[in-house]
Symmetry: C2
Subunit: 229 residues, 2 copies
DNA sequence: GCCTGTGGGTATACGGCGTACACTTGTCAA
DNA sequence: TTGACAAGTGTACGCCGTATACCCACAGGC
């Protein structure tokens, strides 16, 4: 009896299950190819059924962003402002790396969701608790920009995904047209002659992100100290 | 005779005319609502006619980006690296403000076009001519990120577009939920009590952009000096 | 003058999309 | 038993990008 009921009444749809399916599909298919029809199919349901639980596709995208932002660790307690900020931003970055579509969706959405606003608010709190004036905190938030959410759009595709010799050939080919990019050949590809030994540190995304992050945080620290004096 | 010919043989389609129309439509309609059909209609032609001159919509978007990047002033000659960089980036920003859709398209495109690559290459040249090592230039380019092309995505919509009292009401309403954002009310809205006088500097996009830009450039300058020592 | 490519514009059509609207059906309170 | 209500369905509309086949003016060779 119970089994029969279980068989015929499948698990009912709800907002969480829809978001979960959507996030999963976006994770492995990319957000461009995400469609209401595919989500519905994934859930074994007709497309219009989704609209009983989400208003429309935009609202669903907002919900997906909230799922990702919800994965960011809470701020650590008791640290100074800089490490608190740094750690949390790196946690945000980890969340966004798990869901590579999220940064694009975040940018394209006009108004931030309450979840995102709450995150930003808490980050502002970290600045203020660290001794920033409201004014400086304001500028700091603008200066951090998307970095505070763990991403900064890269303008080049990383060449690290292609075989080294292919990338090398590509670089060599455009050496005369783009002389300065060509100079990056050794450091960006990863075969890098250093004191006679070829070391393999290429374009390390994590390093570059933290490099820029620390540059920003250090600059802000300096301004904060100047302000307090 | 000549007039008759002129009448019946309209100005022929070509890539430039298509790009011009597309940029115009995107400028006033937004890039989301830009469609091949609308461009064709604008040009008094059937949609498929466009495909004789552009491969597909993606390639057309690339072309549109190139138009915008082409509007960026060439680097000034004879200045030090920092002002050269600064001025050119501000010129890029002006171009992107004329075509607000361009930054979004730039981000969403995977591989940069040759035009964009050439721009980046010339910016690298500015760093190198300024005495940066190839390594530091490499990190600097990553750190600048999209800022080098004149934009840094804002995470909040600017409240400056809505009437001050409405914004004020909005802020007041969320004061208990977002205490730190609420503290921005005076400085971000634009009515700002300073020494008894209410001054009207709100969220100044230009100021915020240059604030962050200079923070970055100053940080890089320090690293450059440390490196040379 | 005629033939024949060929390049540019056209007509039609396909499969996909988001979603409005009208419907059935299963559940439970009264 | 009824009847309201929530959840899921079916159909349809108007968009989208673009494949494919077509037409036709015109240039170059004969």
């Amino acid at each position: 009896m119970a089994a029969k009921i279980e068989q015929k009444t499948r698990e009912p749809l709800n907002r969480e299950r829809i978001l979960e399916a959507a996030v999963g599909l976006a994770d492995d298919g990319g957000v461009e190819s995400l469609s209401m029809r595919k989500i519905a199919h994934e859930l074994g349901v007709v497309p219009m059924a989704l609209y009983k639980h989400v208003a429309n596709k935009d609202e669903l995208l907002d919900g997906m962003v909230d799922v990702v932002v919800g994965e960011i660790d809470p701020p650590i307690e008791g640290g100074d402002w800089k490490t608190t900020m740094r750690e949390r931003i790196l946690s945000a970055r980890r969340a966004l790396l798990r869901h590579p579509w999220a940064s694009r969706v975040l940018e394209s959405r006009g108004e931030p969701t309450p979840t995102v606003i709450a995150y930003l608010d808490s980050m502002m709190g970290v600045f203020l608790a660290g001794g920033f004036s409201v004014d400086l905190m304001h500028h700091a938030m603008h200066a951090m920009g998307s970095r505070i959410l763990g991403f900064s759009q890269e303008l080049f595709d990383d060449t690290s995904s292609m075989p080294a010799e292919e990338a090398e050939a590509m670089f060599a080919q455009m050496a005369d047209v783009y002389p300065n990019i060509a100079k990056l050949l050794p450091v960006a590809i990863g075969t890098h002659d250093e004191g006679g030994a070829v070391v393999g540190t290429g374009c390390d995304d994590r390093f570059e992100f933290e490099f820029a992050l620390d540059l920003m945080l250090d600059g802000l620290e300096r301004l904060r100290e100047k302000e307090r004096a």
